[in-house]
């Protein structure tokens, strides 16, 4: 079915209705939300959104899987990823060989995910967080070692994870993401058992 054209007009009101009904309607809606605020705010440092697995956040390299094909660097629209030549000892041939690994510069990265999608061996993956800030631009140019580590995320330490779900009446509604919390609590308990009583104050 192709689209249809529907002819419409600005809604018209008689002068009296314009003054009274309009004002009262606006005030009523305002008062309704004043007394029943539909607050969707994320209290950020105390809560953070547990992003889905598919979120295109910071990128991590799995060095073992990399086959030095340079696809990621070639497809990068911002030239944020480049190939760094590294001498690697080859066990079979028993000699040093030059191999290329990608390094990334977050000063330029636009998080389009093309590098991850084009990698033929899945040697790159996204971590689902994206809220790290830096005081220094040089910190954002990662070395090969840093590129293999997942960047440290502060939000885990400061807040609890929440998830937003859709609601017909309220739009987005947030709830604490219990699974994640339980997982984390278990981890903490384990840590405490291992490390003993001394660390209790810190948590």
């Amino acid at each position: 079915m192709p689209a249809k054209v529907s002819q419409k007009k600005n809604p018209k009101r008689n002068p009296l209705g314009k003054v009274f009904a309009g004002n009262i309607g606006a005030l009523a809606v305002g008062l309704k939300y004043f007394f029943d605020p539909n607050r969707i705010t994320l209290l950020y440092p105390h809560e953070y959104i547990k992003l889905n697995k598919g979120y295109r956040g910071f990128i991590v390299l799995i060095k073992e899987k990399c086959i030095s094909c340079s696809s990621c660097a070639r497809i990068c629209p911002a030239a944020a990823m480049r190939m760094l030549s590294v001498k690697v000892y080859n066990e079979k041939l028993k000699k040093y060989m030059i191999k290329k690994y990608p390094v990334i510069n977050y000063n330029r990265c636009i998080f389009c995910g093309l590098c991850v999608d084009v990698c033929p061996t899945e040697a790159l993956y996204h971590v689902p967080y994206h809220d790290i800030v830096y005081e220094n631009m040089n910190d954002m140019i990662l070395s090969l070692e840093d590129f293999q580590k997942e960047p440290e995320n502060i939000e885990f330490k400061e807040g609890i994870p929440v998830k937003y779900y859709f609601d017909e009446r309220r739009g987005l509604v947030k709830t604490p993401y219990m699974e994640e919390l339980e997982k984390r609590n278990e981890k903490e308990e384990k840590n405490q058992k291992v490390e003993g009583e001394g660390e209790k104050g810190a948590s």
């Binding site: 809606v29 305002g30 939300y33 004043f34 605020p37 539909n38 607050r39 969707i40 705010t41 209290l43």
Partner: protein
């Protein structure tokens, strides 16, 4: 006795009892003057932001003091303003530029000199049979200095803003004067004490003559550039209107000035239309004669300010010619109508 001690005692006594507790000074500086006005402004700006945040599905100022909903937010803002650099651009008229905000704030508080907050005579600031007239006359002074600020700033936006402000002054002044003087016609008196005393029986003038109250309410919104009449400093075309060039403490004064004016007007409205300290009857004594009635008046005034602040979250702003049209074509006939109704009610002895 040590003469030095004696001298100190006398000085202390003079300063405390004869100067600070001299009603005009006390009223100007403490209740309901400067200090109370600042506290009220802090509260009401916080409330304005919070109320807007409630309507707008969010929290508003919060992190600064989570337990009390961020109520200390404005303290931080004021401290920041007070400590920031005060920039005096090269092109401004320096003396006017620096003096205008200060004079504006001082003059904004001047009407309080004529406003009695109790019916007990020793606590009147200036006992006068024409206190309503004097107060109304004083309210018209401070807006002139807003116009002056814009002129002294020597900035196109500022000047346009101050021209708009002067347009607004000429239109709202007549309305508020007409509206407030309706009370005089109804009560056959210019004396605020008498006007309040007549309302003690529960017949508040605002209830008897709601049109006059409505007209004055709108006129106050216009005069203090509250929404939907926030025209002189409408940000989407005039940046900050007359205040565009002001920074630091001077801007803090400006920001407070509008709220102080609104506060003074709210007290006037309370006294004239909402029964002042009714239903409480003051008796001699500082607490029962002055503090309790002024507290009642302040509470009522705060409610009025709260309603004015709430309008921000519902309305946008009118165009200048539309606002002036509302003033001249709708509100002035309404004010005249209210005046007529007041006269009729007075004639038939309803009041």
């Amino acid at each position: 006795m040590n003469p030095c001690y004696y001298a100190c005692y006398i000085v202390y006594k003079v300063i405390v009892y004869d100067i600070i507790f001299y009603p005009p000074v006390y009223q100007f500086l403490i209740i309901p003057g400067l200090i109370t006005a600042i506290i009220i402004a802090i509260f009401i700006i916080w409330f304005e932001r919070k109320a807007a945040a409630y309507v707008q599905m969010r929290y508003g100022p919060w992190e600064i003091a989570p337990k009390i909903g961020g109520a200390t937010q404005l303290l931080a803002d004021l401290t920041r303003y007070a400590m920031q650099e005060i920039i005096t651009p090269q092109t401004v008229d320096t003396l006017q530029y620096l003096l205008a905000p200060i004079v504006m704030v001082v003059l904004a508080l001047l009407p309080l000199e004529a406003v009695p907050l109790t019916s007990v005579k020793p606590y009147f600031p200036i006992p006068s049979g024409y206190s309503l007239l004097v107060a109304v006359a004083f309210t018209t002074l401070s807006p002139l200095f807003i116009t002056m600020m814009g002129w002294a700033s020597n900035n196109k936006f500022s000047i346009t803003g101050s021209v708009r402000e002067s347009f607004m002054i000429t239109s709202y002044e007549l309305i508020s004067v007409l509206g407030l003087l309706t009370a005089a016609a109804m009560t056959r008196s210019y004396d605020l004490v008498k006007i309040v005393n007549l309302q003690m029986s529960g017949k508040w003038l605002g209830l008897i003559n709601p049109i006059a109250l409505f007209v004055v309410f709108i006129a106050v919104l216009m005069s203090t550039s509250g929404f939907p009449f926030e025209i002189p400093e409408s940000e989407s075309e005039l940046v900050a209107g007359p205040f565009t060039e002001y920074s630091g403490l001077l801007y803090g004064l400006n920001m407070g000035g509008a709220y102080i004016r609104r506060w003074v007007f709210s007290i006037l409205i309370t006294l004239v239309f909402l029964g002042g300290w009714a239903p409480y009857r003051p008796t001699p004594g500082v607490i029962t004669g002055y503090l309790i009635p002024s507290l009642i008046v302040s509470l009522k005034a705060v409610v009025i300010m709260g309603i004015m602040s709430f309008l921000r979250s519902v309305y946008g702003r009118y165009r200048l010619d539309q606002a002036l049209g509302i003033a001249w074509e709708i509100l002035i006939p309404l004010a005249l109508l209210a005046f007529g109704i007041g006269l009729a009610e007075a004639y038939f002895g309803i009041i």
